[in-house]
Every structure is written in C-alpha cells, then in structure tokens.
C-alpha cells in the first residue's frame, strides 16, 4: 500500500471519530468505564494477594527436638533444616529461652513452676518459616524423616484458610475479569455497529468500485485504535486519581492495616506502568477488534 494511501486511511479513521462524534463519545465513555472496572478489579486482587502474602510470611512451624539430643546433633539438624527446600528463617529456640518466655507471659508463673527452680521442663526447638505454604505438607513430610525430632507443630488450620481464601479470590477475580472483558467487547461492538451502520452506504459504494476489504476496514480499525488508546490513557489517570485518593483516605487507618498484617496499600507508582500498558493494550485491542468485527456484515456486498 502506498504511503499516501496509508496517510489517507489514517486521516479517514481520525475523521470518522469527529464525523460521528455522538457515537464516538458514547463508545469512548463505555470503553473508559469498562477499563476502569477491569483495572480496579485487578488492583483490588493485587492488594488482597499482598495482604495474604504478608500473612503467609508470618507462618511459623516449631520443630521440637528430642530430649537428650547432643549439641552437635542439634547443630546438624539445624543445618539440614536450613538446606531443606521451601524453608526459610531457621531459628534455634532453646528450652531455657522458651521457659523464660513462658514465665514472662504468665503472671502466676512463680507459683506454678517455682518448684522446678531454673531447670526448664520444655524441649529445645527450631522455629522455621515456610516460603510457599501451598507446599507445606510435603515440606513437613520431608522434615519428619530427620533424626532427633520429637514433634512438629504446624499451623495447618491457618494455612488451609489462607490457601482456600487465595484460591477463591483468584477464581472470583478471574471470572469478574473475563465477564467484564466479554461485556466490554459486546458493548463496544454494538456501539460501533451503530456508527458503522451510518456509513453502510459509503461501504457499499467502496465495494462496488473495487475497494478491498482491508482498505474498507482499515479506517474503522484506526478509529477503534485511537478510541481505545485515548480511553486507556484517560482510564489510567482516573485510576491514579481514584486509587491515590482512596489510599490517602484509608492511610490513617493504621489499626485496620495492622489487623490485616500489612502496612498499607501497594503504592500506585510500583504498578503504574503496568496499569498504563494494560489499559492502553486492552483498550486498543477490544476497541479496534470490536470495530472491525462490526464492519464484517457490511463488507459482504
């Protein structure tokens, strides 16, 4: 295709937006709202995942060591735990320390444990963290085969709840996203179909004079592309504004975040480029493909 023809087609596509400005504004608004819904669903999901991850990081498994285990064997066990895949932060927790901690926590500790003197009745232990709690069971099965272990205490209920929650949120967000994309696509196709309908006479004349299908579709594609790109950029700024406002309003709620085990929302600038890229790409693809699909019926002359 000639350069002059490409220029003409781009001009036609951009001109179409102005000629059909009412329909263009309608399509643009629908596109922007759809992108905002998609964007906020993704951002919400990312924040929930962050909360879940930060809670996950706080998981702790206690490995109680058999009484009478030699110090060097305790060190060997610690070494093995450190080298075990999916295990992080291996900390030795001596029986003396455990006893001290219990005494600190209990007001009537002297009464209960006084007869023991300073001798700890508790076992030595290792405290470890599991990196990926989805694989906690298999990791603990491996650890269970190590020597000198009395008992393993793991927060299974807590892990099950978190894993379940994570799965549910992922599925719900995925379904919402898929539905939003399909709905946006259908609405955009219908909105542009109306604007294409206005030009069906023009399209039929083009067909009669020997224009190829691609020549007819390119201005519509460009029109959709421009609309999608602009809607993507506008949706980006609205998201930025909306998200920052929300963060500002809720940032004072430190107790709420503390309860959730996190320090706050994910800062917008950490994912700003992904939001912009995602919006522009989604907007451009949905809008241009939707527009071109709307022309199919009219191109068949």
């Amino acid at each position: 295709m000639r350069l002059s023809s490409i220029g003409y087609l781009i001009k036609q596509g951009a001109g179409n937006i102005w000629h059909n400005r009412i329909m263009s504004i309608a399509s643009f608004c629908i596109m922007t709202v759809s992108l905002l819904l998609i964007g906020f669903t993704v951002i919400f999901s990312a924040n929930v995942n962050m909360v879940i991850s930060s809670v996950e990081d706080k998981n702790e498994v206690i490995i109680y060591i058999k009484d009478g285990t030699l110090e060097q064997d305790i060190d060997v066990l610690g070494e093995k735990l450190s080298q075990t895949p999916n295990v992080s932060a291996v900390t030795f927790y001596s029986k003396e320390q455990a006893f001290e901690d219990i005494k600190k926590d209990m007001t009537d500790a002297e009464e209960i444990f006084g007869y023991l003197g300073d001798e700890s009745p508790l076992p030595d232990a290792y405290r470890i963290r599991i990196t990926d709690i989805d694989n906690m069971s298999s990791t603990l099965m491996t650890i269970g085969t190590y020597e000198n272990i009395e008992k393993v205490k793991a927060p299974y209920d807590f892990v099950n709840v978190l894993t379940g929650l994570n799965t549910v949120i992922t599925i719900v967000c995925f379904v919402i996203l898929a539905a939003l994309i399909v709905v946006s696509f259908v609405i955009i196709s219908n909105a542009t179909r109306a604007s294409v309908d206005i030009r069906k006479r023009e399209i039929s004349i083009m067909k009669f004079v020997g224009a190829t299908n691609s020549f007819i579709k390119i201005p519509f594609f460009i029109e959709g592309l421009i609309m999608g790109l602009v809607a993507g950029v506008v949706a980006y700024f609205l998201t930025w504004l909306g998200y920052d406002s929300l963060v500002n309003i809720l940032s004072s709620e430190t107790t709420l975040f503390a309860a959730m085990g996190t320090s706050g929302f994910i800062p917008f600038n950490t994912f700003a480029l992904y939001v912009l890229g995602g919006y522009v790409l989604t907007g451009a693809v949905i809008s241009s493909v939707g527009t071109v699909l709307s022309t199919r019926k009219y191109v068949k002359v």
């Binding site: 000639r2 023809s5 003409y8 004349i205 009669f208 004079v209 020997g210 224009a211 020549f215």
Partner: protein, 226 residues
C-alpha cells in the same frame, strides 16, 4: 467484453431469477437491457459483478466471462480486481453527501490505492469532461439531479473502465437531464467503452437506438438491433 453462457441463478426461495441465459456483449457495444420489474435485470447485473453466483449446470456447464475474468472460478479475494474494470451508474446516484464533487470522484481512485499525484491530475480532468469543472468543490445536495448523475458518471469513468453498467440511470431525472445523461453515455461509448444500460424507458431506447436485450421471466426474450 461480457460472455455469459447457459447461466441460471436461483435464490433461496427456489424461484429462478435467471433461466439458462446466454449473452455476449462485445467490446465497444452500446446495449440496452429492458424488462419488467422482477424479470431478472438486476440479477443479471449482480451476476456480472459477482454479487451472486450462477447455479451449477445440469445439461450444460455454465460459464461467465467479464473483461477477461472467469467468474465461475474467480476467487472472492479477486472480486475487487474484476469490479475495478467496471464503472457503475446507479438510479439514486449513490454519492456520498459528506464529500464534495472532487472527493466523490477521487474516492474511487483512493479505494484502489492510486497514486496521489495521478488522483490530483485525473479527477479534475474527468469532472471537466462532464461539464462540472466549476462545481468541483460543491457538495451533492447543492447540485441538481442531472448534475448529481453526471458526478456519478464521472465517478464511473475515472478509473478508465472497460465496461460501464448503468442501472436505470435516468430514473430520477427530469426529461432534459435524461437526454443529457444518455448523450454523455453515448459519447463515452463512442470513445470505445462498452456501455450496458438497464432501463424501463422505451422512449429513450427508441431515441438512441443500439442493441436491445429484453429479459422476460428470467429468459432472454429478444436480443437484436433496433
């Protein structure tokens, strides 16, 4: 050149629109196609521009050749190439109201990816031939019916087609504009372009003469010079 041999066209309603039609229009001919409403005239046009396809033949194998294209084997992607060899003139002009006279005519050349320089030279030339040089920047709704039809003829002519098909070109015109339009089409034919005019208007046929093809109930009832 148009060469149609043993062609029938049946729409989904099972009513044949054309029945075993054979027809040859040589280069440079001036032919009228007449017939009542529903006789099959429009189907014949649609057939020649590959908007409809012929039925599979039973006794004879149908064939359709238009300007060197074999329409029985023509691929869908090549249909635009066939149509670029044909100029159309419609009863309702089919001009684009948002474009001025220049753009309505240039539109054809732009649609077929012609060079911009050629468009700038060729379009005013053809518009001038139609006597509309002074109205090149006007819009269709600022023109009379006769002038609009002349723009439509300029559009049909701008790509130097081998064949012009005019479907009821005088149907929406006053008597004077009818004569002018017919004269223009005859002049175009005199310069070597094949012209096929589908019309109801027997007076014009008698006045301008030429070859007459009368279609009745999907068959060619008469084909001869008048």
């Amino acid at each position: 050149m148009v060469d149609v041999d043993h062609v029938s066209v049946t729409y989904s309603s099972d009513t044949p629109a054309l029945r075993d039609v054979s027809l040859r229009i040589d280069d440079g001919e001036f032919a009228f196609v007449v017939g009542e409403n529903g006789a099959g005239k429009s189907t014949l046009i649609k057939l020649l521009i590959r908007e409809v396809t012929a039925d599979e033949g039973t006794e004879h194998k149908p064939s359709i050749h238009v300007n060197g294209y074999d329409l029985m084997t023509l691929k869908q992607k090549d249909v635009p190439l066939l149509r670029r060899t044909i100029g159309f003139v419609f009863q309702d002009f089919k001009l684009i109201n948002s474009m001025n006279v220049f753009d309505n005519v240039a539109f054809v050349l732009r649609s077929i990816d012609a060079p911009a320089k050629y468009i700038r030279k060729r379009v005013p030339q053809v518009i001038g031939l139609m006597g509309l040089g002074s109205k090149i920047n006007q819009y269709p709704n600022e023109l009379s019916g006769g002038e609009q039809q002349r723009v439509a003829i300029a559009r049909a002519l701008v790509n130097n087609p081998q064949l012009i098909i005019a479907d009821e070109p005088t149907g929406n015109l006053d008597p004077r504009a009818k004569i002018e339009t017919m004269k223009l089409l005859k002049e175009i034919n005199d310069k070597g372009t094949t012209v096929m005019i589908v019309t109801h208007e027997h007076d014009l046929v008698k006045r301008f003469g030429g070859r007459l093809i009368n279609i009745k109930e999907g068959r060619i009832a008469f084909d001869g010079m008048i």
